[in-house]
Symmetry: C2
Subunit: 473 residues, 2 copies
């Protein structure tokens, strides 16, 4: 009897789970359509259509703005929920506009002990303060963790820099614009970046229709004799290339977004030494890879988003600019969550620890671990692309990394794939082949290109590798 009861119970459970799945699917479908609609609105109102359509900070947003077809919803649901790809994947739409939350999870599980934080509600009432610090809400522990990591990796100069911590790199970006735009100017400051540029820049610049700054498009096209802020993303998102500023003007202020200047993505050649450098370690911890998908994945994106948030900081040479950035964050969100900073510090220290030679006997360094993952994936996608005449990938010069001593070409977090021949709309072409990517136009670039996430789930990445060579025009 007991066995029978258990048997019945199991059946009921299976049925109920199936029902859940259908409901979730249905709901996410509706949810997306409405969200997509509201986003379409905002973007129209901003007279902007290229933004928010990438895998970064505003991935969730971008999705809302961009992904709204049933196919794509299905795709994302499928990628969000493993069961949909258990059929070998032939019929499955794969969404390669996102990464993989579990890609580095193995590494972090090993680090579980070191990076565990215990906090009580009555804690953090300490009166100690580092009042010499321009960014008064920056935790001293996080400051030293950031400084140490840059020293260990050798990717940025920290001496004589003020560290400003932000709730996400998007807030730091907005803080930099606030700090660098004159507050008494008759017209807003021009903000430019060379196409293809990170597709969230335009929305983050214009969503409040600020009188302080306005998006002025492709830096290559900018010829006004007006002050401007040029965003230099290096290595660049989406195409992975190392960059320098392009506007030949004397009225420009440069902001360097170095989110990908970490040794699993690019050879570290020397410590970056610019006036304003934006960093987020989310790209280096692999947590960026979790900011994926639409429905269930939105939550995944959030679930490590908090790490992303407290892992963003700016290295700023000028004290007044650092102060104004701090001011923006004060008005905007009253500083940055202290406990998030404490967790961030723990995680950054764990990364640095893993790089200490002393520890290397028993543990692989974090960057070795992630470099090998990236190198393997790039090897596989290049082999897949070689098998067909339809596509091409950028080639990067081999350089020697001062951190690892390895000589290699860039291993970007995104593949900037070009459709060769007569295919002009690469995004649509791939979608017809059930591969969802983000088209070049969203980055101010050509529709012959698409951006493909290299941080997707293993099963999705394998499907991509199988599918690309099989595509016929």
């Amino acid at each position: 009897m007991a066995d029978f009861a258990t048997f019945v119970l199991k059946n009921v459970l299976v049925v109920s789970l199936a029902v859940n799945m259908c409901l979730i699917w249905k709901i996410s479908f509706e949810d997306e359509q409405t969200l997509a609609f509201s986003w379409e609105n905002i973007r129209q109102k901003l007279h902007f259509h290229g933004c928010c359509s990438n895998g970064e900070e505003s991935n969730g947003i971008g999705k809302d703005a961009h992904v709204s077809t049933a196919t794509q919803i299905l795709a994302t649901t499928s990628s969000g929920a493993a069961p949909f790809v258990t059929d070998g994947g032939e019929g499955v739409v794969i969404n390669l506009d996102h990464g993989d939350p579990t890609m580095y999870e193995h590494f972090w599980k090993q680090k579980g002990q070191e990076t565990t934080v215990v906090t009580s509600s009555w804690q953090h009432i300490s009166y100690f303060s580092d009042i010499k610090n321009v960014c008064w809400f920056l935790e001293p522990g996080l400051m030293s963790a950031i400084t140490r990591l840059h020293k260990v990796v050798g990717n940025a100069v920290t001496e004589g820099r003020h560290i400003v911590v932000g709730t996400g790199s998007s807030q730091l970006y907005q803080a930099a614009l606030f700090a660098l735009s004159p507050h008494n100017a008759s017209r807003p400051m021009n903000v430019v970046s060379a196409a293809p540029f990170y597709s969230s820049y335009p929305l983050m610049t214009d969503y409040l229709r600020s009188g302080l700054h306005k998006w002025a498009g492709d830096a290559n096209e900018f010829s006004k004799q007006e002050p401007y802020i040029e965003l230099v993303t290096s290595p660049n998102n989406p195409d992975g290339f190392t960059r320098q500023n392009v506007v030949k003007g004397n009225k420009g202020i440069l902001v360097h977004d170095l989110a990908y200047y970490w040794p699993q993505y690019t050879p570290i050649l020397l410590p970056a030494d610019y006036d304003i450098m934006l960093f987020t370690v989310s790209k280096s911890t692999g947590h960026a890879g979790t900011r994926i998908g639409i429905d269930s994945s939105k939550r995944k994106y959030l679930h490590l988003g908090f790490i992303l948030k407290c892992h963003s900081w700016a290295l700023v040479k000028d004290r007044e600019i650092a102060k104004k950035m701090t001011t923006f964050i004060e008005i905007n969100t009253i500083g940055v969550s202290k406990d998030s900073q404490i967790r961030a510090a723990k995680i950054l220290q764990a990364i640095s620890d893993s790089c200490d030679h002393a520890n290397q006997k028993d543990a692989e360094t974090f960057f070795d671990y992630s470099y090998k993952l990236m190198a393997q994936r790039w090897k596989e996608i290049r082999e897949a692309v070689k098998k067909t005449k339809l596509f091409s990938l950028p080639n990067f010069p081999q350089e020697t990394c001062t951190f690892s001593g390895r000589t290699f070409g860039q291993l970007p977090a995104f593949a900037w794939l070009r459709c060769e021949g007569e295919v002009d709309d690469c995004e649509s072409f791939l979608r017809r082949n059930k591969i969802l990517t983000r088209g070049g136009k969203h980055f101010g670039g050509s529709t012959k290109y698409v951006r493909i996430s290299m941080l997707s789930r293993e099963n999705e990445f394998k499907l991509l590798i199988q599918r690309l060579p099989a595509i016929i025009s």
Copy 2:
């Protein structure tokens, strides 16, 4: 010998501590002047002078903007560091523009166990998501904690409401303006509030010179035949009165800021039932009291700021508005830190638990505890003011609280003190008597009034009570 060594050691320690204190004092002094300067700048550029000059979210900011005289620096240092008030306080300047981080600490220490959170770096990769939720980054645990607390206290209707969580009430305020302002209008939306109004509203509305909305001042003076957003803060900051909307227009949208609608500050008469209600529990947990001072206290302010941050939420009736608010927070800071939400949920649950009759045997409810503190302080300040003809305090009607069953008049977190007779500048008058307050003009009100924090440290509050009756005009 050992004893002698210890003795010497102790002496050295004392000396070293004294030196530290002097250095901190010196540094904070310089730090403040520069900060104050940069703030003066921004405020001038914003053509605005009444903002950021209160004890709330932008206290740190307000201080920078507002407090820049040596006396005040000294004062804040003195209030920031206990040693300065051990002389009985006669000569000491007291800063009553801020609260007390330890005011409720005792309560939270009791709750230490319940509210302790343990998190590892590899956690929070859960795939579960509440995709039906408009605010996709809202933790289900926090949602239920918020709903439960409102039910327990009976201060707001949650049925048929969407909960949007924000990184601080200032972000939620900005999210509401973003959601309520038309994005295609030819001119920005008017934002008004009846004077005296919360002094951060103007800066938060105008700091980015947004084309979406602009501060339009005192709601009582607003007569344009244009759309407007009216902020109704009830109980009001600074004066503590219960409020209704005042603009008699049909083009208005109301936003209710109910940060102080908690039973230690005001009798709860019925569950608030408005379209858009902003809440922060920081005001009710007493953690608001920690956002104090300039130098070392800035850090205190931060140290519980994270609790404040994740303790702010909006109850929104309209789904589209809730979505747009969520959108703002997505672009602005990519959602809200998950671990902060988890801590917030714990703390809110602890407050609700303390209200359960089951628990009342062994523990005082949180609101009883805080009500008694507030009632005692109001009793003392009223007695002090009665002893002199120079000042008066507002009187509040006695009403019966549906939560506690007690009949009492409001016990605001701030005392709105009026200078009677010929004193026109009450802030300067009190400063001459070494009591630092925030003058009425910063709230769009009369200079005959000042706002005094009722959440200051016990020793400072005692000094105030001694000093007020002793003042002679």
